[in-house]
């Protein structure tokens, strides 16, 4: 990265910081979320999704452009309450990094990001337990759960996620009811 683009980035971040204030001051959950402002947080969302599904020997959330999916689905498909909770969640991420490290989340070191993220995960209201899809309705409310669900969905339904992170079988042809699991076999991308 050259100097000029570095400064540019700082300026952009400054502008985003200002913008973020105006998203996050909304406390009422029924207020319409401004898509432009949410889109301005795409880098932050991308960073968070990558912490959930990092690049390993297979692509991670960033390579699968999951942030784009999350924001699109959030704005177009999720109810306003969930959108607002998501925005307050992003605010919490930012304020927590600011309070602890004096910088925005994106400027934190990997270790710091991890620590902030753990804090958010541990304060998401409840933890998972073995439950099935039936109780889906109970979930999906908190920021962390929404973020996690949409990251997983966006990743597993993306081309890199489905075809490299998982096993994608476009036209199976036959059905083999009982096969021996091979070492390191990935699970199927679609049901």
């Amino acid at each position: 990265m050259n100097r000029r683009s570095y400064f540019k980035r700082i300026l952009v971040l400054g502008a985003l910081g200002g913008a973020s204030f105006s998203i996050f001051k909304w406390k009422e959950l029924t207020r319409q979320v401004d898509p432009v402002l949410l889109w301005s947080k795409k880098d932050l969302v991308a960073e968070l999704s990558e912490i959930i599904i990092p690049e390993t020997d297979t692509p991670g959330a960033k390579s699968a452009n999951v942030a784009d999916y999350i924001i699109k689905v959030l704005i177009n498909c999720m109810d306003i309450k969930k959108q607002n909770k998501f925005c307050s969640g992003l605010e919490l991420v930012e304020s927590h990094s600011m309070r602890n490290y004096g910088k925005s989340f994106l400027n934190c070191s990997d270790q710091e990001k991890q620590t902030v993220f753990e804090y958010i995960a541990n304060h998401s209201g409840f933890s998972y337990r073995i439950l099935n899809r039936i109780n889906k309705k109970i979930f999906g409310e908190s920021f962390f759960i929404t973020l996690k669900d949409l990251t997983i969905e966006g990743y597993c339904m993306s081309k890199p996620g489905a075809t490299q992170g998982l096993a994608y079988d476009y036209i199976p042809g036959n059905f083999e009811a009982c096969i021996k699991l091979k070492p390191n076999q990935k699970s199927w991308a679609t049901k």
């Binding site: 990092p54 991670g60 699109k72 199976p172 009811a177 009982c178 021996k180 699991l181």
Partner: protein
């Protein structure tokens, strides 16, 4: 408004079929094959096999919002959007455009297009038996079915042989075997559960679902490619629909006139002959009104629409609706319940997996009230439908803690085996469960809005508790952990097995149709969709509608040939 450019002669056919869904397609094909010039009327657009399946070959990433419905869709289609997703939306109506009134919550799921809901049906094909046909008589409920299994058995065979049904023979009196293509296979956990049930429960068994998916090539279609994307329409013709099968066969005879965009508003009565003379139709593209005439009329508009068409067809002879001397039209509405069941996780057999996406699950045929005196607190019974699978990301999303590398590894690796199963339960015919026409509110074609007043009652609710308990017992008996019972408490209509609004019976005073689905009060009218059902049994009903249709067509043909119509 009447279009005088069309002469009466040009608008006259041997037969008219109203509705092109699973039973209408059959009526059209059978009548065409018998040499009748047949007009098939469909209120929606045309859908041509393969050509009009725009989402059939799409990958998950081709959908902008995944398979999530947009807020806009959910607002415009509060009912249909519970059933459709972006890959199937085009096969469902818009609720905003096609409103109806719910006296109590009732999901009226509709597909207004050529092929109707046969494009998106569940494809399960089960025969009814005398346990079902005799039930009303034995229990003193509603009226007796005017037919028995022996009347329908050859027609079941006839239909199965044509559509192609894969399944396993089990030699059960209450779930008769059919003409089956090779069965699909149970996976490891399903076999395990089946073995355990066989060992623990002497009168129960687990078998593969019987489905209209082709396990080998059949009638120039298929075989099924195990994509499990049936509801999008199958480019391989791997499952039966009107579009892939009966309508092309009807077209091939040269006797079919298919007229989409045609809402039938009224059945026209011929006072002199005391029969129907034809139908009045609104062309939804031009808003012009037409009349079409025929010797015989098959009404296959689907249960609720058929009843509303009858109720809307009033004349001095039929002030309460066409063929409604019994005043049963619109009443006795039924739908199976499928809300209750159980779910469990098994922590063994982790060496096994499967390849391909089998488009069906398993079936545990009915095991309650097979004999008298079982002392249960409910009548009739249910079958269990379910499937076993290993947890994949869709489930792990809810069940995995954490994040990061290890989490990703677990997320993308097959998890524990699970089984989900629920009871598809019989619903008794209650006179109070009914559809009526609203006296004031009308749709955009000036037709009165349909009002649906339906609820499940004590018998269904008690059955649901039993379903939960027996399901959980079977899972626990097979070593499943964390077994959870559930009851989704879904509204009526959500199983999309609505039926009963113009029932068959012996007596014209208490039923609408006779034993050949012929209207008691107008002999050239036949109704062979779900509205004809006298009781619901617990079997998925489409196969029975098709068998009744083929049988009624043969009867109508004989009657005409012998000069009785």
């Amino acid at each position: 408004m009447y279009n005088s450019n069309k002469t009466k002669e040009l608008n006259t056919y041997d037969a008219i079929v109203i509705g092109s869904g699973i039973s209408g397609g059959w009526a059209a094909m059978e009548l065409c094959k018998k040499g009748f010039k047949t007009l098939l009327l469909e209120r929606g657009r045309n859908v041509e096999h393969i050509v009009d399946y725009p989402t059939a070959n799409l990958n998950p990433w081709d959908f902008k919002y995944g398979l999530n419905n947009t807020l806009k869709d959910r607002e415009a289609d509060p009912v249909q959007s519970n059933t459709y997703n972006p890959s199937t939306k085009h096969f469902f109506v818009s609720d905003a455009e096609h409103p109806y009134i719910q006296e109590q919550p009732f999901d009226w799921v509709r597909g207004y297009q050529v092929g109707g809901r046969s494009l998106v049906w569940g494809r399960q094909c089960y025969r009814m038996s005398d346990l079902d046909f005799e039930a009303n008589l034995k229990d003193g409920i509603a009226v007796d079915w005017p037919i028995r299994y022996k009347d329908l058995a050859p027609w079941y065979s006839y239909v199965e042989s044509f559509i192609g049904v894969s399944g396993q023979k089990e030699n059960l009196a209450h779930l008769p075997d059919g003409e089956f293509l090779p069965a699909m296979e149970l996976n490891y956990i399903e076999k395990h559960l089946g073995d355990s049930i066989k060992k623990n429960e002497h009168n129960r068994l687990l078998t593969i679902a019987r489905v209209a998916n082709l396990t080998r090539g059949w009638d120039h279609r298929g075989p099924c490619q195990n994509r499990n994307l049936c509801e999008r329409g199958c480019p391989f013709g791997g499952y039966f629909s009107s579009n892939s099968s009966t309508i092309p066969a009807a077209v091939a005879t040269g006797n079919l006139t298919l007229r989409p965009f045609s809402i039938v508003t009224e059945i026209l009565y011929d006072e002199q002959r005391q029969m129907a003379k034809g139908v009045r139709v609104i062309d939804t593209l031009s808003n012009e009104v037409y009349e079409f005439y025929s010797k015989i009329l098959f009404i296959n508009a689907s249960t609720i629409a058929t009843a509303s068409l009858l109720l809307n067809s009033v004349s001095s002879r039929f002030p309460n609706g066409f063929g409604n001397d019994s005043e049963q039209v619109g009443h006795n509405l039924m739908d199976h319940h499928s809300s209750a069941g159980a779910y469990g996780v098994h922590d063994q057999f982790k060496d096994y997996y499967y390849k391909g996406r089998r488009p069906c699950g398993f079936l545990i045929p009915r095991y309650r009230n097979l004999k008298d005196g079982e002392n249960l607190n409910f009548k009739r019974g249910y079958n269990i439908q379910g499937h076993g699978e290993r947890m994949e990301w869709q489930d792990l999303s809810y069940n995995l803690n954490g994040f990061g590398k290890d989490f990703k590894k677990q997320l993308t690796t097959p998890g524990d085996w699970t089984v989900w199963m629920a009871g598809w339960g019989e619903c008794l015919p209650y006179f109070e469960n009914q559809i009526t026409l609203d006296k004031i509110q009308k749709d955009k074609w000036g037709l009165p809005l349909v009002k649906i007043d339906f609820s499940f009652a004590e018998n269904e609710n008690k059955m649901m508790i039993d379903i939960q308990q027996t399901s959980a017992e079977m899972l626990e008996g097979a070593g499943f952990k964390d077994v959870e019972m559930f009851n989704y408490k879904k509204s009526g209509g959500s199983t999309v097995h609505e039926m009963g609004t113009a029932r068959m019976g012996h007596d014209p005073r208490t039923s609408v149709l006779n034993k050949f689905n012929q209207m008691h009060n107008a002999k050239n009218v036949f109704i062979t969709d779900g509205s004809a059902m006298t009781s619901s049994s617990c079997q998925n009903p489409s196969l029975t509608y098709m068998a009744l249709t083929a049988r009624a067509c043969e009867f109508a043909y004989q009657q005409l040939k012998n000069g009785k119509l």
